[in-house]
Assembly symmetry: C2
Homo-oligomer: 427 residues x 2
């Protein structure tokens, strides 16, 4: 018999967008790294398996953060008084330059991964920097931690400061080196093609990356239509382009392989149609878009059109790694978007946002973010016994209470692909 | 010599709106409950006083939360899927009805006050319920805790459910009983006239409360122009009124004595003029206004006009008691308001919001919220040594990092009016 066990507790997850599946005092049977099934009683065939009883705790899928910048973790909570383009120049690029130093990278990345673990983020899509070695280091460290991640060495060959720029050739060469070395190295940590965004990537670089994505069958992540300053700069650089998205698309970087575009705050209808057609994921970064005065992404519209959406911290445009915090912020801006859209784009409720923070983003990783059969078993055990609760609450209400008023102290256990993950201790 | 001591640490506060005063390794001398002065070195006259050295910690004024509903604490993080009027009917009124039971009230209020303490809120303006006895209990408990508070028994004599309504006479009678009994009972806890809002208060009740406010020289708190549903109901009820604010004003409840109006999201220019003229405080409740889909209050406009503004959690329309969280949320919506106002209403920066969360709201309590001479010594000692910090930060940056990324675990000591306040232990 394969490695099999069950966890017992109050199980809640979302198979469908916005619809909770709830099993009080239920069991999740795990076989190797996969969910075998969810049961209210265990059948005879499971008589001899180990049962880990989490009592009255809540068991939820692990959180999936589909857009964050690892090196910017050092700037968390700082430098939030500028919009995107001056923010990059003043705060972000100078910080990212430091990651040519592998010792510094290790210091920051160690703490970042510990904090991701702390907040129950079990999978993440991560931008590193242009530096090959610290990008590799980050992948090795994620692997060591047991968390799942797509990690991208960033590409930038123009409109970047002298201290943070590559030649087109070196950028492509280093990227390919990583793809060769890391595509099959780890099961939970994979490389991803990561052009920073159109302003810092020449057409030649973008096309070269498109070729690599196709050649190695690897996914892509980048930024799209985040802020008005950025968009007008893109228009200046590419007067010939139909729109911002088409520049990625022309280079084979817009859904040719699985693709995430962060933000999409100000996409136009043509871009949305292209996203629908190419099944491009949106990383919705509510905190970041408010912090950097970008605006509110039309998430309800994306969902109605069938565009896949996940939630993201976007550290350090976002100031918090906590996906609970990201859910709350996403709910708040969806309410404000409802007003802004003359009450057309309905607010996103907790069940809908919980879906986006688990299965929605998890789809990018395959079968991740749910407790359906065949899904990788990523889970958090939530002990809410110390939260101020004064009446009997349903499991749905307890989950909402945890999201809105709890914090990392309520997360007691974290599983990734069937393994119970302990706090990373990097040496 | 009077009771005198000094605290030593990295002192930061805002004397003027948006301007930090910083003293690294400085001293605050406290005499009785007041700040005597802030010094980089102690003069000879202080040779014999006790010095409490907080090392590298940051010392800031205590947070002031100028609008929250104590009974709604039980609903924290729940029932956020409706706008104001249906939210009141579905979730809030049924909860508030429970406070006829003093045992239940004590249970919830104990935890609420502990949580306020935990998050470093040293002064608060609080709505209780219509119930006289649990309102008195709340005042007694605040006194016992050592925190400062204005506490209002709520008045509501119309458009309220049968289980949560008073007669006009009983409402006024009970209010006056509390004013007589509590106006001079405690130094840090005081009663405040608290008509819930126009929809639930008859003109007769409002006018009666105006008379009491004048007779006992007590301040007033209520709600104004929070949500479109509420405003249209007020218009229906008072077709004769010039606007919503004028109804309070005609009753002597709009600045005749010191007054706070919560929200003011949708006030018109005439209402703003009246607020300016009458020096009415705005309680800005960013989390609540986003959670209940009310909108974004024009705070920059208020400030430019000279209207006094403080920040508020508005539990449980707001989901968090943490004033750090409230500052972040206020910053975010101010950025979105900047976009909404065609880039006219400038975003509020951290120093400005820190002022509002300390001295801005503190003004309602007198000399509170600053370390200037003569101010009551309310302070928090912030130990940020466990936050992820990778470079030398200024004290201003450390404060911002604490606000955006820290939490209650970083608050090591809390002073109110010169006393070091320990965690409340209610029996």
């Amino acid at each position: 018999m394969k490695n099999m066990f069950a966890v017992k507790g109050n199980i809640i997850f979302t198979k469908e967008f916005g619809v909770y599946e709830v099993l009080e005092n239920g069991f999740i049977v795990v076989e190797d790294k996969y969910v075998k099934g969810v049961y209210s009683k265990l059948g005879k065939e499971y008589d001899n398996i180990k049962i880990i009883d989490y009592g009255n705790s809540i068991i939820i899928p692990g959180f999936v953060d589909i857009h964050l910048h690892a090196p910017q973790f050092a700037n968390l909570g700082l430098g939030l008084d500028k919009e995107l383009m001056p923010w990059l120049e003043s705060y972000t690029f100078p910080e990212e330059a430091k990651y040519s130093n592998i010792t510094y990278a290790k210091k920051v990345y160690s703490r970042l991964i510990k904090e991701l673990w702390k907040f129950g983020t079990t999978r993440a899509c991560v931008f590193a920097t242009i530096h090959k070695n610290s990008s590799k280091l980050l992948m090795d460290m994620f692997h060591e931690s047991g968390l799942g991640a797509f990690v991208g060495k960033v590409n930038m060959d123009r409109n970047s400061p002298d201290y943070l720029v590559e030649t087109t050739e070196a950028s492509l060469f280093d990227t390919e080196e990583i793809l060769k070395e890391y595509s099959s190295k780890y099961s939970l940590v994979k490389p991803i093609i990561t052009p920073r965004f159109v302003p810092t990537c020449s057409t030649k670089l973008l096309k070269g990356l498109g070729v690599l994505a196709e050649k190695y069958k690897v996914p892509v992540q980048s930024h799209l239509s985040e802020n008005i300053g950025e968009i007008s700069f893109v228009k200046e650089l590419h007067p010939e382009a139909k729109n911002y998205a088409s520049i990625y698309n022309d280079a084979g970087l817009f859904g040719n392989t699985q693709t995430i575009m962060a933000h999409c705050v100000l996409v136009d209808d043509n871009e949305i149609d292209l996203m629908v057609k190419n099944k491009v994921f949106v990383a919705h970064c509510a905190n970041s878009n408010s912090n950097l005065t970008s605006g509110i992404a039309p998430v309800r519209k994306f969902i109605n059109k069938g565009i896949p959406v996940g939630l993201a911290s976007d550290v350090s445009g976002g100031h918090s790694l906590s996906m609970m915090d990201v859910i709350v912020s996403s709910a708040q801006v969806s309410n404000l978007k409802y007003i802004e859209s003359d009450r057309n784009d309905k607010p996103l409720n907790t069940a809908e946002l919980f879906y986006l923070a688990t299965k929605g983003g998890g789809k990018f990783f395959g079968k991740v973010g749910s407790f359906e059969e065949g899904y990788e078993f990523d889970a958090l055990v939530i002990d809410d016994s110390d939260l101020p609760i004064f009446k009997a609450l349903s499991i749905e209400e307890r989950l909402q209470k945890f999201i809105y008023t709890g914090d990392d102290r309520n997360i007691k256990e974290r599983y990734v692909a069937g393994d119970n993950i302990r706090e990373p201790k990097f040496i």
